[in-house]
Symmetry: C2
Subunit: 333 residues, 2 copies
Amino acid sequence: MNGPLAPQPQLDAADRALVDGVLARQLRPLAKTITLIESRRADHQARAQAVLEALLPHTGGAMRVGISGVPGVGKSTFIEALGLHLIGQGLRVAVLAVDPSSSVSGGSILGDKTRMEGLSQNPAAFIRPSPSAGSLGGVAEKTRETLLACEAAGFDVVIVETVGVGQSETAVANMTDIFCLLQLPNAGDDLQGIKKGIVELADLIVVNKADIDAAAATRAQAQLKAALHMLRPASPNWTVPVLTLSALRHDGVERFWQTVCDYRVAMENSGEFAGKRRRQALAWMWDLIDAGLRQHFRQHPAVRGELPALSRAVERGEATPAAAALRLLRHLN
Amino acid sequence: MNGPLAPQPQLDAADRALVDGVLARQLRPLAKTITLIESRRADHQARAQAVLEALLPHTGGAMRVGISGVPGVGKSTFIEALGLHLIGQGLRVAVLAVDPSSSVSGGSILGDKTRMEGLSQNPAAFIRPSPSAGSLGGVAEKTRETLLACEAAGFDVVIVETVGVGQSETAVANMTDIFCLLQLPNAGDDLQGIKKGIVELADLIVVNKADIDAAAATRAQAQLKAALHMLRPASPNWTVPVLTLSALRHDGVERFWQTVCDYRVAMENSGEFAGKRRRQALAWMWDLIDAGLRQHFRQHPAVRGELPALSRAVERGEATPAAAALRLLRHLN
């Protein structure tokens, strides 16, 4: 690659072998690459970046699908059913997760691959638990890079699951092409479980567990459609559909995937598909820059000395935010 | 003030007179202070900060009310009716606006005070058009500082209006104690006019123009309540009410203000009122710091040289966001 980042980072023989292995679609080199990506060691980080640079020309080929929903909605069963359906069509499927709580809980989500028994034993599937990196920013960053590695390894579909802690849905929506929200078929009050702003991220809503009570599922579908009706659509070329589905019975999974494909066609025809990916990449770069700038700023000795007292003064209304910000920004040379 | 910002900025005689005039509740010194705040000249900015520091101990006394709604919903008529009602109760009312489009349109919102004829001629009212400062960040910053100046001038209620361009609703919600959304009594499809995320900012929703079609207003009220039902409330101590109202006939304005007062009592009893103001002030400080850090970073000669090509490479998928961010952050010394 002779881009603005030339000269290309030097790969040693071991990392060259990783790159070749990933491009040859071998799962063991892919897993090792992801372990490098997730490592907090500085030398591992440098190697991970060099490997990613080498993989980058081979990325972008997968459909990136975000899946969210409260615990108990049946995400694992749904992803297993969807994954097996896609594999049945000759596609290769990777499943990743963003769970910023996993560092606390010791790796809950997908940590137990028995949750997706059929998929985890299938050679056309690759399941990777959430990295336990602490902050949401760190977890999301590593999942994004893992997504690129999976694309270089030739996966046709990358599913990114979120448990819905904090802002993790926004993080997943910002790294995927389509964000799908799973809902339970509870009527009325129980739908309050939808977190603020999540419905508005959704490109597609699924009422799962329709087998339990078909009438309730239909009522929930109508309620969700009414709620969506109140919102201005994100794209003039797409009305967010609300599907009913039974992942347990594999009923509706095919229609779900057809809807995802319809979405892709509509977005590609309008040019929004590529535009969204460009915006996501640039926003990701600026997120990293902003985080780096803030970290660098907070480490400045004079800022570290003044920040606590100034923050208290601002909170108490003893200093204007502007005066405090100016005072601190003075230390930039 | 002997806070962490001591020694206190030096005020010259003219600015000392401005401070004294504002604290004496005189409108002319207040208007001059706001003109200083809105000026882009560096010396004016320094003087404005010194004046604001002197006023700061006298701020915080007003109820800060945000008002939003699409054009045509009757915001001016509503604010006029509300303002006159409050003045009738012996209160003094300031009306500010956040309109980042006013630099383009030449000052649309409130530029024409005839939109609020009764209020603009009342000595207990102060109406100030949106500053025409270009970016939303700049406009919001100046409106926030103007709000503080109005509080120092003893206004009991400060209403901040937004025309709903871009993210201006979020900016107004972040500087007020209660964010009120005005809606038209249209049934069904027309409610789609609600922008993404705006309903979720609202602490109080008003269906205006109920005089035109009371039945439609009641239907809209029910629809809005159903939509709110789908959202998790921002506070466990407040269920967002949906009121119907006719600003034209001054019908429902008293109940609106009673609801605002109920909200304040509920938030103060739970401690959320002061907590929200503290969070808003600290978030404002960090917004200014982040903006300052980014501006400083973008002005770095090496960053300016590399940024365009790196941004293009990221957009085209030729460089990872992480690699590009690291490359640029290298230039921090």
